[in-house]
Subunit: 144 residues, 2 copies
């Protein structure tokens, strides 16, 4: 007699944050990743890695692109921290909507600036403003 096979599926989360522009926020990114890990596997833990410099990673640009887009396509949900403008995060968000993934953008409001209309006006993206990490707990609990 064969045993039953359990299909335990763990949610795959793609966390996107600005690498070149957001290194000041690497500690915040680490805390966000820690929160997200309560809900599933975070495919992009390296985003919170302090040793990632403004000059980026040590594999080729093509390899970075292929790896990241394949992670986006594997993921169940993309969570993007969109306080700092970033081409990479913009491209990842666009691909995630192209692949019909759930997309959640979190954003710290700053006076005199507003979030790009290409994010807030894009169908399939939900945007949440926050100031403190505590507020994210509630957002993730509802959305993930």
């Amino acid at each position: 007699m064969e045993g039953e096979i359990y299909n335990i599926s763990v949610m795959k989360i793609y966390f996107a944050g600005s690498i070149t522009g957001g290194r000041d926020d690497s500690q915040l990114y680490l805390e966000i990743i820690k929160l997200l890990k309560k809900y599933g596997d975070v495919l992009t833990e390296h985003i919170g890695n302090d040793s990632l410099t403004q000059m980026g990673e040590k594999i080729s640009d093509k390899e970075i692109y292929q790896r990241d887009i394949s992670w986006v396509s594997e993921s169940d949900v993309l969570v993007a921290e969109v306080t700092h403008p970033s081409f990479g995060v913009g491209i990842e968000i666009a691909r995630a909507t192209e692949f019909k993934k759930k997309v959640i953008c979190i954003y710290r409001d700053k006076e005199g600036r507003r979030l790009s209309a290409m994010i807030s006006g894009c169908p399939g993206i939900e945007v949440f403003k926050y100031q403190e990490i505590e507020e994210l707990k509630e957002i993730f609990l509802k959305e993930l």
Copy 2:
């Protein structure tokens, strides 16, 4: 007798530049648009408009998104100035590659920074470095 119908097709060019981050470059954007107009219709002339503030345009975000993406889909080529990080430009570039458009990125190199791997590593995108507007004339002549 009916006259002949001439199908005169003019190249449609989508010019993308950072609105919120690149207002210091609005004069440069105007000069680039002027160069591009020698090759076809520039669908996004408003990007070079000085009166566009950091707070953006006066139509709704959804309308901006729909208008811009429909222009990307109508265009024959997307030319993006990618010196300043921008979510919007990232999303426009991603959509243009999704729609199999020709994509040309132009970029002023700055010490200690490099272009996002998600642009330089993305298939279907050609990146050209430049410092002076004069250098763009040669690039556009070859590429458009």
